[in-house]
């Protein structure tokens, strides 16, 4: 548990007045408040520190205690006494979007115990707090719509993950956030999908891309090739004289379109022509023969 310099967090000196503290808090809160910095984890962390510093310094009793024992808290006998008093204090609830009261620092919790109520406006909560969660899935898992059971705040909820969700996409599960107060509605649960890809396919929206090696003779003379798709194997024909880097489109063999049942993107197959190596003397002879037939170049 590291000592936290609350004055430094608010950019104040130890002799700052109450109005200086208020002013500094407001300025920093306006800069880092989660409402003003959506999806910005760094700002959220900063705001928590600023809020914690304000909780302590804006309360004369807490400030006095902090000023007296703060820097030497680990040696002060009185610190232990202060610690015992904490359990008597009321818990604090907040509705700052993602902000949770569990995330005050250990230093704060041990020094001041439960979280105090906020200063200027008493908070009678109406709607519950929104929760954020991240769910990691593999690309193969989001090819089809499926159900999954998640544990959120010790409660199990079963959600449907629609096929075709994107990496970084956030879906809202209504009413699965924190409980509302005074009969107010529950908050919502926001799930951000982090999609890893262990397949050979590259995804861009609902289109898929894959590179397939073909040998020189198949490229020259044409032939057939089996290509894996998410939907099983597909036989494709390689046209004679196929150039390296040629792309073909397999319509409807791509990724499902999000919330558009039965609609799929396309699969693009890129041909990579492999030039044979370690040619035998006979092969070299034949290639030379061929090159003579092509004396005019390409």
């Amino acid at each position: 548990m590291a000592f936290i310099d609350y004055y430094n967090i608010l950019g104040l000196s130890k002799n700052a007045s109450e109005s200086d503290i208020k002013k500094a808090y407001r300025k920093l809160a306006r800069k880092y408040h989660p409402d003003l910095n959506p999806n910005d984890k760094k700002a959220e962390q900063k705001f928590k520190k600023v809020n914690e510093a304000h909780e302590v310094l804006a309360n004369p009793e807490n400030r006095k205690k902090y000023d007296k024992y703060g820097e030497h808290w680990q040696h002060a006998e009185d610190y232990e006494k202060a610690k015992q008093q904490q359990s008597q204090q009321k818990a604090y609830s907040s509705s700052y979007g993602n902000y949770s009261d569990d995330e005050f620092s250990d230093f704060f919790s041990e020094m001041f115990g439960g979280k105090s109520s906020r200063g200027s406006r008493s908070q009678v909560k109406f709607r519950g707090q929104d929760f954020n969660a991240q769910l990691q899935l593999d690309l193969r898992e989001v090819y089809s719509t499926h159900k999954r059971t998640l544990t959120v705040n010790n409660k199990k909820i079963r959600i449907t993950i629609p096929a075709g969700v994107e990496n970084g996409q956030i879906i809202k599960i209504k009413g699965h956030g924190g409980g509302g107060a005074n009969g107010g509605p529950n908050g919502d649960l926001y799930i951000e999908f982090s999609i890893t890809n262990s397949t050979e396919f590259k995804r861009d929206g609902h289109n898929l891309y894959v590179t397939k090696d073909i040998d020189l003779y198949k490229a020259l003379l044409g032939g057939e090739l089996m290509v894996d798709t998410f939907d099983g194997k597909v036989k494709i024909s390689v046209k004679p004289e196929t150039q390296n880097g040629t792309k073909i489109k397999l319509k409807g063999k791509g990724f499902p379109k999000y919330k558009k049942e039965g609609q799929f993107g396309d699969l693009f197959v890129n041909f990579n022509v492999k030039i044979p190596t370690n040619l035998s003397a006979k092969e070299k002879e034949l290639v030379k023969e061929l090159s003579k037939l092509r004396s005019h170049g390409i």
Partner: protein, 98 residues
């Protein structure tokens, strides 16, 4: 009166300890929509989180209504840009690994 879609402004203000005039001011700035039924005023429940956010901006951060109006529009843009950024990141990830 309260339905699934509407919540009485009086009740909302009472719970959140904000004056009714604050909600009227938000309406004057076209920041929220107010529904009148049987001479009572209501807001849509799906707009509650927006109104609560505006309350926090005003009462906790001391931002005036002109500021809230500007922030509201800027946040909408931020949200759109974040979405666009995510799409571009995903695209870049595709091409970087080729």
């Amino acid at each position: 009166m309260e339905s699934n879609q509407l919540i009485s402004i009086k009740q909302f203000c009472n719970h959140n300890e904000v004056p009714l005039r604050f909600i009227s001011a938000l309406k004057d700035f076209d920041l929220i929509e107010i529904v009148i039924e049987d001479e009572d005023e209501y807001i849509y429940t799906q707009h509650l989180h927006i109104v609560e956010k505006m309350i926090r901006l005003h009462y906790d951060l001391n931002i005036n209504l002109e500021g809230i109006d500007a922030i509201y529009h800027l946040l909408k843009k931020v949200e759109e840009l974040q979405k666009e950024n995510q799409v571009l990141k995903n695209k870049l990830r595709t091409y970087e690994s080729f």
